[in-house]
């Protein structure tokens, strides 16, 4: 069984975690009641600085370093690294609510309380640097809290990667607000698009008018030179129209100033239920990718392939592929050990190791 590239969760063998946030190795810097420190007292014992209570785990030090920040689970029995200095990129989930309803959503909307305050508190303790991902749900759905997070003191010197449908950015006043707070320069906006027309895109999101707003959001952001990563999740349904989407992006945004990420579908969330319908055949997907990347090259567009194992795409397409799967859900099955391209390859999602493994062919 392939190991995760980075484990992020540990169970507590003894004791109970009473706070939602823990910083490893010291007292918290701030005064937030949400945060406690977790000091190593030896032999797998850790003391909570706020309550004084002890917990046991021999695994904490294996997965985290002093200055890392954890979230505890609802029952207080496990810890998950929220912000780790070992991670290539840390991502903070700030809400599970969303006003789109995409058919293959990997993080389906749930009407539960949001986590902006936890995110701000965690960020204020974290000693690492590097890009901080902000995701959801839809991070902008609670606008003031969203702005609050990106403009708080501990956000100041940090680069962000915000995953958003961008609909609210069709409003000039919202964009203006972000500019006024000096937020634009430190954010890479990751915005998904599902079609070259309202008909195809709105069919995916389930919301009439969502394409129109997302498109206007893209135009507004490009206009102020915001960093843009336009994300297209590759499903059987979008394949025939994929080139048209990139052609449209070229028409409205020009050749440069943004990147297009073609993303292989992750079989989690709602996608998991109807993977047979959504997943294209590997050969068809590879062929369309060749076609689309060639045309994009002619137009001068930057294209990246995210989450594509190198043996599943053509040789010509490999120059566009990135190591993009978050380390905490990234695996390399056994047969990849003999592959000469493994160091550059993205590997698989942990959630799909059983489905796709037999299709992987190591390149000798």
């Amino acid at each position: 069984m392939a190991e995760l590239v980075r484990r992020d969760t540990v169970a507590i063998s003894d004791g109970f975690l009473s706070h939602p946030i823990y910083v490893l190795g010291r007292e918290p810097k701030g005064t937030s009641e949400l945060v406690s420190g977790l000091i190593d007292t030896g032999n797998g014992s850790f003391q909570c600085t706020r309550s004084g209570s002890k917990i046991h785990s021999h695994e904490i030090n294996a997965i985290a370093d002093p200055g890392d920040v954890f979230f505890s689970n609802r029952t207080g029995t496990s810890l998950r690294t929220a912000l780790s200095q070992r991670a290539v990129q840390n991502t903070l989930l700030v809400t599970e609510q969303c006003d789109n309803n995409c058919t293959f959503c990997s993080q389906p909307p749930r009407d539960v309380p949001d986590y902006y305050d936890l995110a701000i508190a965690a960020l204020s303790e974290f000693e690492g640097s590097g890009v901080i991902g902000v995701s959801g749900g839809e991070p902008t759905i609670h606008w003031e809290k969203f702005i609050g997070l990106l403009s708080c003191e501990s956000a100041r010197r940090r680069p962000f990667h915000v995953l958003t449908h961008g609909r609210v950015l069709s409003r000039a006043d919202r964009v203006g607000e972000m500019q006024a707070h000096g937020i634009i320069d430190s954010v890479l906006f990751g915005i998904p698009i599902h079609g070259a027309s309202a008909r195809t895109h709105d069919a995916v999101t389930g919301v009439d008018g969502s394409w129109e707003e997302t498109i206007q959001g893209l135009i507004n952001l490009r206009h102020i030179d915001a960093a843009l990563e336009i994300r297209i999740i590759i499903t059987e349904q979008i394949l025939d129209g994929l080139d048209s989407v990139l052609a449209l992006l070229h028409s409205i945004l020009g050749s440069s100033g943004y990147r297009v990420a073609l993303m292989r579908l992750e079989p989690t969330g709602w996608a998991r239920g109807h993977l047979n319908l959504l997943r294209p055949s590997i050969s068809r997907e590879a062929a369309i990718i060749d076609y689309v990347t060639l045309n994009a090259g002619v137009r001068g567009q930057q294209v990246s392939l995210y989450n594509y194992p190198l043996c599943l795409i053509s040789e010509a397409a490999r120059e566009f592929a990135c190591k993009s799967i978050s380390d905490w859900k990234n695996v390399y099955p056994e047969q990849c050990n003999t592959c000469s391209l493994k160091p550059q390859c993205s590997g698989l999602f942990a959630s799909e190791r059983n489905r796709v493994v037999e299709k992987l062919r190591p390149v000798i």
Binding site: E212, R222, L294, G297, G300
Partner: protein, 456 residues
Amino acid sequence: MRHFSFSSLKSSDQYFVSNMLGEWTLLDSYEHVIQCAAQEDSPHFPSAKLSEESYYKSCVSKLSRRYREGLQKPSLVMVVPTLRCDHSCAYCQVSRANLDSKCHDLELDAAEVAKWFLDTASPSAMLEFQGGEPLLRQAYIRDTVDALDALGGDRRHDIVIASALGPDLEADFLAWCVDREVQFSVSFDGVPELHARYRRSNIFDSYSRFRSQLEILQTRVGPTNISFVSTLTAETVKQGAGSYIESVRSLGIHRIFSRPVMPYGFGLKTSKAIGVKDEDWQQFLLCYIDELVELHTSGTDFTEDFFNIYLTKLMRPGESGYVDLQSPAGYALSACILNYDGYVYGSDEARMLYEVTKDKNLRISQANQPASNESLSGHVQILKDTFIEANAHCDLCAFQPFCGSDPMHHLHAQGDPLGFQPESHTCKTTRFVCELLATRINDGQISPSMLNKWLS
């Protein structure tokens, strides 16, 4: 409804159709154009599905970006260290000076030139040395760039030297060039016999000299730092594109920028004899593109930068850095030149024109001096007419998004900066080349992989 522009093609009944976003396509007939105008069947642009609001916002955004970028500091800044030259090319347009002249060297010292450049150029501008023959002053070039690097803090500018490779290449200078990653833009007219004939020198056999010097240069700085510029006379064009390409390739060169000698200008008697007529140039280009397609199909690497200018404009509108065809004009905005006489001009052609006409209005200012109000208003006067979107000849033309202004060319050829497009070489060439490329792209003769290779 959406506005679109249409222009008839010369080679068929088709129409070239475009819009303000820079999208284009071909329609089969005038009837089809009328249908689109009546909105029975709109041109199939990618933007067709956009709402009116999105379409409009996108047009304004793209256009304002172009103006904004056009109004920034120059991205191509040239310096003429000397007008002296060791060649006497038949088609020379710079009014070169003799090798022993005492009054054709730039008299500013390196630091003054560096200061001028830093004040004038955009942070990412390219510095290009022109002449005469710049390599007659190798030490001066090196001192100027060193001064520039020293004064410029963390600014780092690309350096290009345009040269015919006549002068001996000093070893330290070459070593410095390697270190500094200097690019060379070398004059070679493609056909050895014609190169020798039209690029005479009193001191050496120009073709042999070119060959031996090129070999030294290639060995020292490497072929990736050398590009080639070719000037075609009526004779070359007559010999045809096939033999031209073969000749270029036989020297191991697989990328070149070719332009024709104008059959007029700069008071040369030879211009009429050796200049290339529009019809002949077009015929040459027609054969040339077919040769390029065949070469690519047979797996051979060869790129013609002349076509790349227009291909970039067609396939990547907004990305073209070609200063001589921009709207507003690149004249004085995207480019400028510090001439050997210590004066700043708005383009290469402007300083050439000055040499012949002695019209002081062509000067912008003295280097490191502010420009006078009179001078500025004169140049602004020229520039305000270079927005082709608002120009009476260009406003309704379908090739407009892929074209631009060339005020110095029109001033020179037709007597006024705006020009008279129906008789303009620039207009005719742009229309012809765009038609040629668009039809070949549309019918698949020029494939995406060809375009990808040529434009990479």
